[in-house]
Subunit: 352 residues, 4 copies
């Protein structure tokens, strides 16, 4: 009954096998090896972006922060939703990597930025003088942190507003695979064709051991990013093992299969929860994250039974038993139907 | 004939096996898992430092920069040798992580800092006012970047000077295992017993896939380092795979066995080179790095034959054939005697 | 009819005279002069704080940013109201000086932070892990940016909440004199006695040429601030001219007289505006800033007549003439009653 | 007998008069005033650079750091002489403003960078990979920190090397007036005509109260610098008083007259010292700074008699009386011949 994170599961066997296969002989360090070239090539093909410049690294937080540091100046502002990982869960990594840029929240509905709120935030009338700083970049997340998703058209709408104000657009794609699996959109449609300039491409949450990529669809700032990755300690020496993970992850569409599996498990869990009348699910889950609201007593019952997940809005151990608290439940490709069944059963056989 | 780096070899089979063994079931992310606790415990035992605070991460550059950022303020100076990795090969990572501290070179002989030069650099008469900045920390490297080593006594002498001026002392231990293997000193003797306050403990160059640790022997600044690691994107989510590497690396002294093997290969290579009269080796190698000086024509011959190594002081492909150029030759546990034999043979059968 | 800012008026004659008087002979640079010692002494006496450490500098933005950089770590969050100068009008200066700390808005009423909103923001339940960052400091402003004021008791309430969570408290006192003049509280009562740990003390807006001070009531971090001031280029060489301004500013209560004058002019202007039925003033001005809402046509009429002030929420030159727009009107000691009379007259003789 | 610094003298009466004259009526803050426009215009005319973008500010350290931050990226290196103010006397201001760029010393003779040492430092063979960082900018100082000067031709030689490697060139002109007075070169000849891209133009040491300028001869990065100045707290609100100083400083060549006077006083002091056989002056002073070497006993005698100056290489109060120590003696326009005469007399009537 592990629903704490899609970071908690094991590495997919095909990726482990690729690591073992890569473990032969010598290879130049720091990305000057044949596997890295193959991994970059594979990403370019998957994204139909032969000109894209691509950088592998072990951390999604760093992928976001590096991408933003190449897009925005330290005296500028980066716009994101109030729930965005870059604002809420990276311990000031974007501020650090950019050298002090500001992160400004823009209102969202169910985790998705409102176009009119973005327009308002970028209204030139807000920027009279140097005192006001300047707009720097837009950062979106798909799948969003609330488990909802943007269609390519919705991304294009927001990107058009940003570009209209001269801002480049970043996409945090820690769960891009889940968004693609859910919409059926192609990687290109969801990214550069919709106006994304820089992508944080995540593999770790969806089956890799620790492998992410920054993809610059506009290669102009690639040289800068190479140096920024190095000085951040994000250029790993034994680079072939990053590359091997990415190659296996993309091979024969494994990444989309895994995301489809994770999404399906989540739908199954959601359906089960809905059948239990007293559980409120909101927003409607579209990928592999769902938020379920039920009384504290039930949380206590589940947690005592060994369920693992995060409670978002209070302490499950203390307070009135009837208070409603929200569970964040995340499935990955490795979540079993057995585990889901157990969880639902515990919930059904709840204390009176 | 791969002598370009100890980063170029494969992962040791025992470490690969440990990764595979760790790949079972779910585990809390970000270090809240059982393997991480075991890895930290193993490091504390090896260093006889039960109070030490320990942080795993994938990058040695980041280990150095994080350690220095906890030891020095942004308006201070960090002292290191002119060849130090932190000065020369980290693309301003220490300046980045510290928020703008200065790196000041202190004169060295054969890669080892001269105590009197350090005393001079820290002379209070140099620091009249805020204009002069202030001393912040001392950073040493053992094995040094020139392949020489400090004894525990030599480290203690430098640390005493630094402590006398109120400075904490950092040790870049990317090749600590090689230094320990060469001296027979214990991990504790070479570090905290000699006055080291913070250690970058490297495993990657000596058989791991990508696993390093910052060890704070003085735990006072541990809380700060936890946040700094996170905001740098150096807190990996699937943390158990870092931990599994460290556990296997330390198990039954594997790390020292691998370092002894690398040192022995280097000695064998050095002996072979010395027998070839025209090759000058300096400084005398004490670990797994050596510098050999011979004519450009020979470099061309070797490189054409497929040897891989770095030429330090010029372009091997262009210029007078008799010019002396320096090869940096690095062995690891995986360097074969066959490869060494081949290299020496090519060198002996050189063009007239 | 200049109401654009209290930065727009001339330097008070007594301060100009002090500059001229200071212009004799040689003096050690960078604050090692007799006038600087006298200025610091005068501030300590005015604040009844003999132990306070005090730093003069030319910029209020820098005073805020330096104070915050000594109070908060780069991985922490600084709390302020959404309208705070440090969030809205300093072009990321706090992010820059702190090395990347985050600025987080806390809900306010009429420019004054709500205690319960602060408590909520600091709720320990929000800080589970390094991902969430950590609280760093509270920054208040008095007089607030909306022209309202905190009483010493209100500051004490907020400071108690902050201290209870381990946070030091900064006060942006760019207009502290106006707040003191309005409340009758003593400098000590409004600052350290109410729990303020570090103060940005402004003189520039209230009659000086360019002179501010950071006052650390807790001197523990004074050494750090000395270096931070220097590396920011905020330690002026001909320091005696900063000191001369501060001495004259405090002499015989000049600063409070000037603030009383500015507040009185503002009250006069407010009364005059209230008499004009159609002008809405909100929030009620308590110092030397007021916000008045009236139709665009009137703005056009006033600006065409030479009135100088900022329109906060739209373009006065374009749009429907009946739209209500807000004027920010600021008086200083040098605002004349003639100028106020003229402004009101223009407003009364408005186009039909 | 004040020779401690050219920062120690009073403000020139013409500049004080200009400040008083500027103190009339209201003016828009932050540089949107008529005097600022006039000051910028005056600088453009003096430098024959109608396209230059110019920014006034109160601090020379900040002028240097801001200029360098617009020229170099945080992952790059700035080259300067070992004695350069930006390396030695700014408490890491360039590292701070650039976001972590490295400062690398390049060998110099008598304070002047050796062209061949610069060529060597920029040798492309040193930059193999991201590990090595990248060259960012060249920073020169004229008059140098050792009181020597570059001719326009010498600057052009160094700038040509830098430009050849793609590096922009900054000139620290804290004492540019002294260099121009000594060479007779025009401001344009010494700067943009010789290849300077960005200039820190100092007035403070040469008669102003606190007024400097960054002059970007290439206006491409002007927008960036405007924001960087603001977020550093270097955009003063009552900007007209900076402008008034600059206007008076340039008026009728006052600045060059003052520099000529300072240089002449220095020559007179040097001549007097040379007549005293035992004083060694080196390097030969070319502007308003000289270094004189004589026994500790004499320093004690002079300092006891009230002479004020810095001893560069030891403690004058303790040690063998016959040890030679170096005095740094700086004259300004306000240094009197009486003061020089007194100093020389004290030196002549020295203890046996």
């Amino acid at each position: 009954m592990f629903f704490a994170s899609d970071n908690g599961g094991p590495v997919h066997p095909a990726i482990m096998a690729a690591l073992a296969a890569a473990n032969e002989g010598d290879a130049m360090a720091y990305g000057d090896d044949a596997l890295t070239a193959r991994a970059i090539d594979a990403l370019r093909r998957v994204f139909e972006a032969p000109e894209a410049e691509i950088f592998l690294l072990p951390s999604g937080t760093a992928a976001n922060a590096l991408a933003l540091a190449t897009l925005a100046e330290p005296f500028q502002t980066i716009y994101a939703t109030p729930d965005a990982h870059v604002i809420n869960h990276e311990c000031n990594a974007p501020e650090f990597y950019t050298g002090g840029a500001k992160l400004t929240p823009v209102a969202a509905d169910a985790g998705k930025m409102r176009p009119e709120a973005l327009s308002q935030a970028l209204d030139p009338a807000r920027f009279h003088s140097e005192h006001d700083g300047a707009p720097g970049a837009l950062s979106l997340t798909n799948l969003t942190e609330l488990g909802t998703l943007y269609t390519p058209g919705e991304i294009a709408t927001l990107a058009r507003i940003a570009h209209g104000a001269g801002l480049p657009v970043h996409l945090d794609g820690a769960r891009l695979a889940n968004a693609l699996a859910a919409t059926g959109a192609s990687p290109a449609e969801m990214t550069w064709k919709a106006g994304i300039d820089a992508l944080s491409f995540g593999a770790t949450k969806n089956g890799a051991m620790g492998a992410e990529a920054v993809i610059l669809f506009d290669p102009a700032r690639a040289r800068e990013l190479a140096f920024r990755r190095m000085r951040a300690g994000q250029l790993l020496s034994k680079h072939r093992y990053l590359a091997a993970q990415i190659i296996a992850y993309l091979q024969d569409g494994l990444w989309l299969d895994l995301a489809r599996a994770a999404n399906a498990r989540t739908a199954r869990l959601a359906n089960g929860l809905r059948e239990i009348g007293t559980v409120e699910i909101t927003p409607a889950p579209e990928g592999n994250i769902l938020f379920a609201r039920f009384p504290r007593a039930l949380h206590q019952h589940l947690l005592a039974a060994g369920a693992e997940y995060h409670v978002m809005d209070g302490d499950p151990t203390e307070g009135a038993p009837e208070d409603l608290l929200t569970a964040r439940l995340v499935c990955s490709w490795s979540t079993t139907t057995h585990s889901i069944g157990q969880f639902l059963q515990k919930l059904r056989r709840r204390p009176a």
